[in-house]
Symmetry: C2
Subunit: 320 residues, 2 copies
Amino acid sequence: MTNIRDIAVMANVSVTTVSRVLNNHPYVSEEKREAVMQAVKQSNYHKNINAVHLSKGKTYLIGIVLPYSDHPYFGQLLHGIANQALEYNYKLVLFQTNYQKEKEEEALHMLEQRQIDGLIICSRTHAWNIIEEYAVYGPIALLENCKSTCVSTTYIDHFHTFYQALEYLYQNGHRKIGYSINRKSGVSSQQREAAFKAFANEKELSNHSTYIFDQCLHYEDGEKVYHQIKGMADPPSAVVVTSDQVAACLVTCCQKGGIDVPKDLAVLGFDNHPMAKYMEITTMEIPHEEIGKNLFKQVIQSHTITHKKVEVQLIKRKTV
Amino acid sequence: MTNIRDIAVMANVSVTTVSRVLNNHPYVSEEKREAVMQAVKQSNYHKNINAVHLSKGKTYLIGIVLPYSDHPYFGQLLHGIANQALEYNYKLVLFQTNYQKEKEEEALHMLEQRQIDGLIICSRTHAWNIIEEYAVYGPIALLENCKSTCVSTTYIDHFHTFYQALEYLYQNGHRKIGYSINRKSGVSSQQREAAFKAFANEKELSNHSTYIFDQCLHYEDGEKVYHQIKGMADPPSAVVVTSDQVAACLVTCCQKGGIDVPKDLAVLGFDNHPMAKYMEITTMEIPHEEIGKNLFKQVIQSHTITHKKVEVQLIKRKTV
DNA sequence: TTACCGTATGAAACGCGTTTCATGTCAATT
DNA sequence: AATTGACATGAAACGCGTTTCATACGGTAA
């Protein structure tokens, strides 16, 4: 492998001059510039990027922590991040955690060891204070609503969004409202639960715990919801389903099982996945790509901590 | 930042000894080992991984080239790769190409510059000879059937698989068979086309070009297929759909539109996505995770070039 | 004419862990 | 007693691009 010193010798200039040419610095005469370019071309020289990293103390690598990459929600998020990364000439390092603490830890360690310049956490399992501790090693952007002074965030107001969804169902005459969530222990789920309680209280609805369906993330989980509702003596008249995948499955099940949507059961999804558009499912549109883009920008703007709220929009279709 | 020399001073040993301790090399006395550990803990020392990379000439980074990460097919593939990567302590660098040549090129350049130790290409747009040229810079694993001497491959025998699917439809009495594909120009699509032609010839079927549906990758593309078939005077009695997403949409459309599946139209999907299982779609099961795992293993076994054929299995359900 | 600035160029230091090679013990083998 | 080998330890070289600092020249402003 030829290195920068070889080039310097070939072009009969100093190493510094070669570096200047390679990085487009001024103060290099045209002839020397030419000579360097010539040598570079002749020897098919490429910088050893690891040396650049060591020298600069940067890697141009951003870590992404997310539970699954084969889930549309995270897939789209990743899509948004990846597009932005390419534009800014950064590369991504993927940490697929499956919600395992150790794997999230790996990412944090990599930040600590400066193998990545920053970290985007799409879903955390570590406690807040732990995350914040690592922020001293490099910028962290988090997909969560938390007014931290050392971690940037992009978030959805889950409380308000959920409330809004419930309100819409209420306006459409529903009084027995259920909902499905991903992980009961998840941060967003807790906010949604709070919203539901506040809503039930406000509207003086009975707070049926049987109307809550946990662990609904994948397509097939919609069937579980269907069966549970089907088996109820006093089923809900409407459900908020926090994933269009699950909603799609539920709706399909209902069609097959003779439950009329929305007459017998109204379904309000989340995401506005293409699937929802096509199946005419009423849903709360979450701009995943925008979120991904913003998270990325926040993490590379390491000097300023920002908090960006992303708006969610109700898309009225035919399942409510 | 403390570095290895600081530690050496603190522990009153040489830099070499510190390195030995840190890398678990033998021939270090217990007391010196202790002293080093003590110093490391006290100063909260962490190696500068960039220096390690420069020194070792390795990055423990593997690049992944794939068109979309928000598509279930590639999502699952990525899932398999990512899990394996975590196990082997490698990190991934994602190149989402959207089938753009330049972005694929970026990945190849990164290999050339040794910023990644190897490259997994899930779908290429560059010509073969170009890819092979870059193999001198580092190991490349490709998801494609090609007996290269410098690039490892994991592949599906698309010809045989497609033929098998067609055969199954034929056995079930179908003589007017259509199919949908992702990109007509794609490598796998061409193999499938060849299989179809061979099949049509073998069985003396008329080779209806109107029965070919191109650009079917996303869920909603199933609707296009539905409408096209619906509008035909002489529609096919069966279709092979090379994505369960698309098949699911098509089946749902048929249900709504009064086309009986499989009586009026048999549908044979590809992937065996959970969606297919649930919707009871007959499909060719493609073991994405296994493919991902294998690609990863191939790329880190840089010394040996291997070619692994992955078996696809027909899952008989209710849409044929 | 002196002072000062823009342009041009290179030597050397810097970032830092790994690895090779040389050297020195001490116990075991011949 | 001489040789050999396992064990210990450290100096120095190595990987390589970036950046700081010093130096020198030509020209313009004072």
